[in-house]
């Protein structure tokens, strides 16, 4: 019986070590990535901080990571938390169909351009006006540097559809920038 107790103690201690390592190696290195994705998906610092924090705590409790990319696993949890939050707080946003021309009209009016000012402001506005599914593809690819495979794992969307999303998002951003530069320098 003493032997069994000893064995159990050892297993518990090994599990603690494993859990600590999982937190150190899998979760903590991706705090920035978690916050960045949450920030661009919910578009609000306070909400993003709260969502990222809770999602990372959740990731630390889960033992399910078996994939190739810890970052993709953590971001998948963050992304799901963001969509849950959006469904609860801004459900309309998830249902809006992306219409490139309509979006162009809204984001490139002289008033808007005056408010957002410089090129960076315009870029942020353009990015924020993209539907979440296009925005996340662009953020994950351009800002986070994820591979298509990682994006597919995070979003559960096939690679073909991700390429289409990237193409539409990039074309839209390019048009906004082109239009705004025309507006800024008539």
């Amino acid at each position: 019986m003493l032997m069994r107790s000893h064995v159990r103690e050892r297993i518990v201690s090994e599990l603690r070590l494993e859990e600590r390592m999982r937190i150190e190696q899998v979760v903590l290195p991706h705090v920035d990535a978690a916050f960045n994705l949450a920030h661009w998906l919910v578009r609000g610092r306070a909400d993003a901080e709260e969502i990222a924090q809770e999602a990372l705590m959740r990731a630390s409790r889960l033992r399910g990571f078996q994939g190739e990319s810890p970052r993709a696993w953590v971001l998948q949890i963050v992304r799901n938390a963001c969509y849950t939050w959006l469904e609860k707080n801004r459900p309309m946003e998830l249902n809006i169909e992306f219409d490139e021309e309509l979006h162009m009209q809204v984001s490139a009016t002289p008033e808007t351009l005056a408010i957002v000012g410089d090129g960076r402001g315009r870029l942020i506005l353009a990015l924020e006006t993209l539907p979440p599914r296009l925005r996340e593809a662009l953020v994950l690819r351009e800002l986070e540097g994820c591979s298509y495979k990682e994006i597919a794992a995070i979003t559960s969307i096939p690679v073909g559809a991700i390429m289409t999303s990237l193409s539409r998002a990039r074309r839209y951003l390019h048009s906004v920038l082109a239009n705004s530069s025309q507006g800024a320098c008539p």
């Binding site: 069994r4 978690a34 960045n36 924090q53």
Partner: protein, 251 residues
Amino acid sequence: MRCDFADSLLQGYFDGELSNRSAVEFERHLQHCVHCGSELVDLGLLRDTLHLAQLYEPASGSLRRKIGARLHATEPTIAPTKPFHWHWVAAAATLLFMVIVVWRLSPALHSDDYQAELAGEIVDAHVRSLQPDHTNGIASNDVSVVKTWLDGRAGFGVPVHNFANDGFALQGGRVDVIEGRAVAVLVYERNLHPINVFIWRSREPDTSLRTGSRQGFQWVDWRNSKMEFCAVSDAGLLDLEQLHKLIDSSG
């Protein structure tokens, strides 16, 4: 006008996601597709602009500290379950073992409870036997017929007697299951009151008569010659005691 490849191969090529073979093929396509060539330049410009704009939003120092503190404060998921104390289990098992040994060695300690439980089961069986459609036995006042029928089913030599001359007329016999074992039952009648005498083999020492009542039925129980007898009836206790004496004296 956009090329058909603009939404697929062009993006893959730009992002370095195409296989070598596909990339070579697409480069061949680029040599004569102005649209893709031009869009590739735009994509490069956009990427540069995005990078220059520094849109990446890193976690603030306070968020990082908060998460770090919470993660390090989190006990491993195994921790909430308190360490399993095997020595307590061992102690409990030993105690249980001793209780069982004492229980088995001293029937007097538990005989009351046991007897009450057993009597309850026998009275239930008696009540079932009173139901009109209860036909799991043999109806006969012929001792040898009843004995032959019972011995084969109960698996032991059942002492069958007809005490009709003493007012206990044999009506027949049947086999019931009490505590998971087959029990022979002799059915007598005393002044129109049916009496069931349950008989089974026992390894326990002989006992004198024990009596009790349950659900309005009287029962008497005794052990004799490696057999236990339990007679149940709505007849009076005196009748059952008399039947006990008759059975005991008949051997």
